[in-house]
Subunit: 196 residues, 2 copies
Amino acid sequence: MKKAEATRRTILEKAFDLIYMQGYQATSIDEIIATTKVTKGAFFYHFKNKEEMGLAVIKEIMYEGMYKNMTQSIADSKNPLKDIYNLFKELLLLNPYMQVKYGCPANNFMQEMAPLNDAFNIAFINMVTEWHNMIEQCIKRGKALGQIRKDVNPKQVAYFVMSGYGGIRILGKVYNSTDCYVTYLKELKSYLNSLQ
Amino acid sequence: MKKAEATRRTILEKAFDLIYMQGYQATSIDEIIATTKVTKGAFFYHFKNKEEMGLAVIKEIMYEGMYKNMTQSIADSKNPLKDIYNLFKELLLLNPYMQVKYGCPANNFMQEMAPLNDAFNIAFINMVTEWHNMIEQCIKRGKALGQIRKDVNPKQVAYFVMSGYGGIRILGKVYNSTDCYVTYLKELKSYLNSLQ
DNA sequence: CATAAAAAATACTAAGTAGTATTATTTACA
DNA sequence: TGTAAATAATACTACTTAGTATTTTTTATG
């Protein structure tokens, strides 16, 4: 990686961390540069303004992470219900980056900025739609494989399980304990089994 | 209501609105006073600082709203599954205050501030626990009434449906359309019926 | 009505904010 | 190696922020 590219990457990664823990609006450029070896000159060389940087965080860090952690494992699943359950378990209990206290980075960012910034929101829609499609396809495959009842509506189920994930992330932040994740996962398993 | 009390109330209500639409950290005292007829002197007469005001918003506006809109209708329900479904439908599609674009005020506030302010978080825990207990009791009643299967775990179900609500509020913000609410509600109905 | 306390108005401060202008350094490559 | 372009450093600006200090007005009550 070229040095300039590394500087840019440093900015995006630090910004991602701070946004994850504090929120986008509460994260200042001064703080990003104070906690890296990047100067203000370098920051504004790489990004026209704070918004452009925020957009790059979504598209280059968040989207990549979402794709890697939230879609790959169910992309060609032969056991849709099982693999969807495992995906959520992995995300909630095993993912090394996410912390109960701070929830899910994408969730946080979307909740904060979706109504406030159209450019951000377009990127959010892309992320969410991508995830939704992956889950929907997975459910459809489960039907084709005869593992899921014929009358199950894949689109509905996809929205339903996505919602559960988003919501339990909020409860986790409030209780600051994985206990509620565990409880949620038990019921998720029951629900998914009820689709058989 | 005494005049001073009205001033205090004006501050809290305007603050609630702005926090709902912009977030707590992004809402400045200057903006609150600029959009009311309240001066800075009056503001700091009623509240020691911004945090104390935020706490009052949670305890006096949000908690009240939560209690009124989210627990009363299921408090002594004789048809738990039906009434829980109706509660969510009412909250998502009929509640006059909440807007798809801005989601649920309590959700937003919790997601933003739970990890950042302990005093706020204690108040959030009270709110969430109250709601959780109400739903759990409702499910238990459903079991006692023979409307819900014996093997259903009320605590798990309560977390599960609460999660769904929190999450679909986020999706609603991103898509800025009630369509996903409608889709979600259909699957919620299926899920609740599966508990019979 | 007098007056003390409650409530509110005004003007200010110090720190933080995004962003700019200018200068300096590093890099690529002719 | 020389030099132009790319990258980065420094110092600054105009504005916003939470909060304070001080004064003024309003209210309650003897």
